[in-house]
Symmetry: C2
């Protein structure tokens, strides 16, 4: 059985849960907790030297990491990875946008507003990041004014990639009221077959970090 | 003829120059200058609403943006995008690593150290980013201790993606002496056929921003 390393609070982990649930592949989840420092332990670094979740151990023992790579690996052969090469390129374009222009603003603001203790430094970081977050949402909103999904007419891996941290905007202190097309798009993603909501367990079994690595 | 929008100082633009030069596709370059605010002008935003370089206009008028998507589009069908799906996933993994964990540290430090006027705020940002930059180089160095290239035994799109901002480490104030395997890898990338050095013009024609958009 596949093993997914990550926790339910991570949007990057959610992307992998979402694709595995969608393609109906059973997996167990090892609860790697950032707040407990798990990703930086020697045991975890032996598995993923990049020191991040998500990571997936395949049945042959191989390990794949980085949410974008995992979406590709599991999404190939589904309609979420279109056959047309130009459409594929557009999927990758929006996945790059997510990693570089969206996630570093929205996910970090969410961490600072929702998980980290309040501090002057954190307030300053939030003020610095807010324009970038709104810029990313503005770009998405403009695109979604004329397209049901980000990279193509139908739902693709790009939509799964952009979904979780956009859905969690409220936890980042961001109001989506002004982003009407983004809000409607969130609902369209949620109406997809075998949609798994963020924060919901998709694994058939959960193993604690200590139990797995002991 | 293809049109590439970007400038020679950008590593993200270099990636596209590198792949176009490698596959021997002629193109003209429109000199989009970040310091002049070009990417945020209405004219450029009509071309790329994400407001960033590189962007490429294809012969059919279609526009592709994001360096990772452009590497994929032009690299398909070459040995830089391996046939094996597991190897492809590994290429994407390192390209995600570049966009999320490498470029935001090394490229921003380079900007702050090499292009921006000195200020206390910039010094603070450099101090915050330096550990992330060294962490990224450490991860690369460890991988390259046992592999000639990052994602596979041979050079792939991942190596082109990681190359420019690693090569420009000195401009970011980062000393590569301790990263022996990274230094040797830089030389291996430079020994590839039809290698284009960063900062070198690969276009057959250069058009100024104002001339193109007037």
């Amino acid at each position: 059985m596949l093993t997914l390393f990550g926790n339910l609070e991570s949007g990057n982990v959610h992307k992998v849960q979402a694709i595995l649930y969608r393609i109906e592949v059973a997996y167990r989840r090892v609860d790697v907790v950032q707040a407990a420092g798990h990703p930086r332990t020697e045991k975890f670094l032996a598995l993923n030297p990049m020191g991040k979740v998500p990571a997936v151990r395949l049945d042959d023992g191989d390990v794949i990491t980085e949410s974008g790579a995992l979406l590709y690996w599991f999404g190939r052969g589904t309609e979420l990875w279109p056959a047309d090469e130009r459409a594929r390129t557009e999927v990758l374009r929006w996945m790059c946008f997510e990693q570089y222009s969206h996630e570093p603003a929205l996910a970090v603001m969410r961490y600072l507003r929702h998980f980290a203790p309040a501090s002057e430094d954190n307030d300053r970081r939030v003020r610095e990041l807010a324009p970038r977050a709104h810029q990313a949402l503005h770009v998405m909103n403009a695109r979604l004014a004329s397209s049901a999904f980000l990279a193509a007419d139908s739902c693709t891996l790009a939509d799964l990639a952009l979904y979780p941290y956009t859905r969690w905007s409220d936890q980042a202190g961001i109001d989506l009221t002004a982003y009407e097309h983004v809000r409607r798009w969130l609902e369209r993603v949620e109406a997809q077959p075998r949609f798994l909501a963020p924060g919901v367990e998709g694994a058939t079994e959960v193993v604690s970090f200590d139990d797995y690595f002991e």
